[in-house]
């Protein structure tokens, strides 16, 4: 039956059907007499439902009407959309920061199976990094994990053709790229030779750095260069979307851990002092708790074997995304995220309140229109749907512009996060699908929330009073005035809170 309905999506089919029906009814009227047949108009109306897409058409009509209304009031539309756009834009920008820092998984294979090892010394609440021998022991002897990688961060100077740059470099173990399941964008990636001393260590460039600094020149492969004075060879470029395993900044280059040992021979053998952050991959089927238990066992065993490692009394394990930018943040990260999101919501709320004010003012001029439509037989639900459609349309526009604004703001924010002594770090605040879903939901929510106000007042408006007194009856007077004051006060209060919070945040950033 639905197939026949689909045919009627074409207006030509609908017109033909309408003509046919009219013919039939006319013919019957001639045969039977109009009085016999009763109300033909009603019959026709009811019959139309069989071949019309009434609800769909009504929705389309609503949208068209709403669009026309906006076009006829460009000033109002512009202000309303701008208000919403700024609110949604700021909200989304904040969310995209949160998303990039905390929510988005690493663009690697099975990112949610990655965990960070966080050893803690007895009596201390801070987490350490692991030394290389300890890392090797855990990697080779723990059964719950299929592989473990280690990396350390540094800011050496990379000199290619004698033009030195400070680059954020990840000193990685041999299985770094293989464990993450990454393929090179160009050339090859660092392999197991990373953990052996080499004459010309292989270095891999980060994709964005390669684009920025070397203009995506493929001839960089095989070139020799100097990293903090040591001769190295550039062997490849990391894949495009991979920014390293440090969440706060993009890793520009990847070097083997053997380079760390080059300046400090004891790197290979000393235990105790931490060098490496270790990320491990849970075996399929293993839970986090099982992993932690297994590590505890291994830790104890190693502690018995070597007196220096017995300092680590507990080995915590956290999912990778929770331990950003480092395991110490595990406790504070959720709180930070919540604070950020709360701030964002306040921004959106202020925008909605603003908009509600504007709509309220406009609503009064429309009371007459609503009253007339109601008198003509429009159901209240239809009127309500019309108003809601208008607001959703506004919100849709607001959302679209808002996303643009948020993209701009994200770029501005990423330059904001650059601490002064790290000149070349770039943060990836590019929006992904989560951000779009978020913006869309925010826009929808805004539209609905704001829309409910005028809908409610339209609901309650008394037809008679409105028509006779020309709309100055109910919502005008004192009651309306009081709620208006409440709105204004709320707005001012929220804006102040936001300003103060933003100011404090900026201060704390500068101090960090």
């Amino acid at each position: 039956m639905i197939w026949r309905r689909l045919r009627y999506l074409f207006p030509s089919r609908r017109r033909a059907e309408e003509r046919d029906m009219q013919e039939e009814l006319d013919a019957l009227a001639q045969i039977g007499g109009k009085r016999e047949l009763g109300n033909l108009t009603l019959a026709a109306e009811n019959a139309r439902e069989t071949w019309q897409w009434t609800s769909l058409e009504a929705a389309v009509t609503d949208v068209r009407y709403a669009a026309r209304g906006l076009r006829n009031n460009p000033g109002f539309a512009a202000v309303a959309i701008a208000t919403l756009a700024v609110g949604i834009g700021a909200n989304t920008a904040i969310f995209s920061v949160v998303n990039s820092l905390f929510l988005r998984p690493l663009p690697v294979q099975y990112p949610y199976r990655l965990v960070v090892l966080a050893p803690r010394e007895r009596g201390s609440s801070e987490f350490h990094d692991l030394s290389y021998p300890d890392y090797r022991d855990y990697r080779d002897h723990d059964g719950a994990f299929s592989d473990m990688l280690g990396f350390a961060l540094g800011m050496p100077g990379l000199a290619v053709d004698d033009r030195p740059d400070r680059v954020l470099t990840g000193y990685v173990t041999g299985n770094y790229f293989s464990m993450l399941g990454l393929q090179p964008a160009l050339g090859r990636l660092i392999g197991s030779e990373a953990e052996m001393p080499a004459a010309m260590p292989a270095v891999v460039l980060g994709y964005n750095y390669w684009q920025r600094r070397f203009n995506s020149d493929s001839r960089i492969i095989g070139k020799t260069a100097r990293l903090d004075g040591r001769a190295i060879t550039i062997v490849g470029v990391a894949p495009k979307r991979f920014h390293g395993t440090f969440s706060l900044a993009e890793t520009d280059a990847y070097a083997p851990v053997s380079l760390l040992a080059a300046s400090d021979r004891s790197f290979w053998t000393r235990r105790g002092r931490g060098d490496l952050r270790v990320i491990a991959r849970l075996k399929p089927g293993m839970s986090l708790r099982q992993g932690r238990a297994s590590l505890e066992v291994t830790a104890r065993r190693l502690g018995e074997q070597s007196p220096e490692t017995s300092k680590y009394t507990s080995m915590e394990v956290y999912p990778e995304w929770r331990a950003r930018p480092q395991p110490d943040a595990v406790g504070s990260a959720p709180a930070m995220v919540c604070t950020f999101l709360a701030l964002a919501s306040v921004v959106l709320l202020v925008a909605c309140v603003n908009l509600a004010n504007i709509l309220r003012a406009r609503g009064k001029t429309r009371e007459t229109e609503m009253a007339v439509r109601s008198a003509l037989g429009a159901a209240r639900s239809r009127l309500a749907r019309q108003l809601l459609t208008e607001n959703v349309l506004l919100a849709a526009w607001g959302g679209a512009v808002g996303i643009l604004i948020s993209a701009l703001m994200s770029r501005a924010l990423s330059s904001l996060f650059t601490p002064i002594d790290l000149p070349m770090v770039q943060l990836d605040f590019r929006p992904d699908w989560r951000v779009f879903v978020y913006a869309f939901s925010a826009a929808l929510l805004a539209g609905l929330i704001v829309g409910l106000g005028p809908v409610r007042s339209a609901w309650r408006s008394n037809l008679n009073i409105v028509l006779h007194e020309g709309g100055r009856g109910l919502s005008g007077g004192r009651r309306g005035g009081r709620s208006r004051n409440v709105l204004v006060v709320t707005q001012i209060a929220a804006s102040m809170v936001l300003l103060v919070a933003a100011g404090l945040f900026m201060r704390s950033l500068e101090g960090a």
Partner: protein, 102 residues
């Protein structure tokens, strides 16, 4: 169901169906054309009746409806459902089927 049954005996146009139902039921069922017509349209949409423009006896054009084979099957189905319905009501009301005659 009534419309389908009426058409069982031959094709009719919309007004004819209303008249037929009225006369067959001894004026007990006077169906408003305003409700019958949309119902006819719905039946047609489901493929149980088909329509065609024809000239009637008095040389007037009208749209005639006839029962399709699918419609015939549907009529049988609805008829048996109706019979079950009647029996159920009779049971509840206390008299056994067959005892209704007085």
């Amino acid at each position: 169901m009534l419309a389908l049954r009426t058409l069982h005996f031959g094709p009719l146009h919309g007004y004819g169906i209303a008249k037929a139902i009225r006369s067959t039921s001894n004026e007990m069922l006077n169906i408003e054309f305003g409700s019958l017509y949309p119902a006819l349209k719905r039946l047609e949409a489901r493929g149980w009746i088909a329509s065609k423009w024809e000239t009637s006896a008095h040389n007037r054009r009208a749209k005639y409806y006839r029962l399709t084979s699918a419609g015939r099957k549907q009529l049988t189905r609805e008829r048996s459902k109706w019979a079950e319905f009647v029996e159920a009501i009779a049971l509840v009301m206390g008299s056994a089927p067959g005892e209704v005659e007085r």
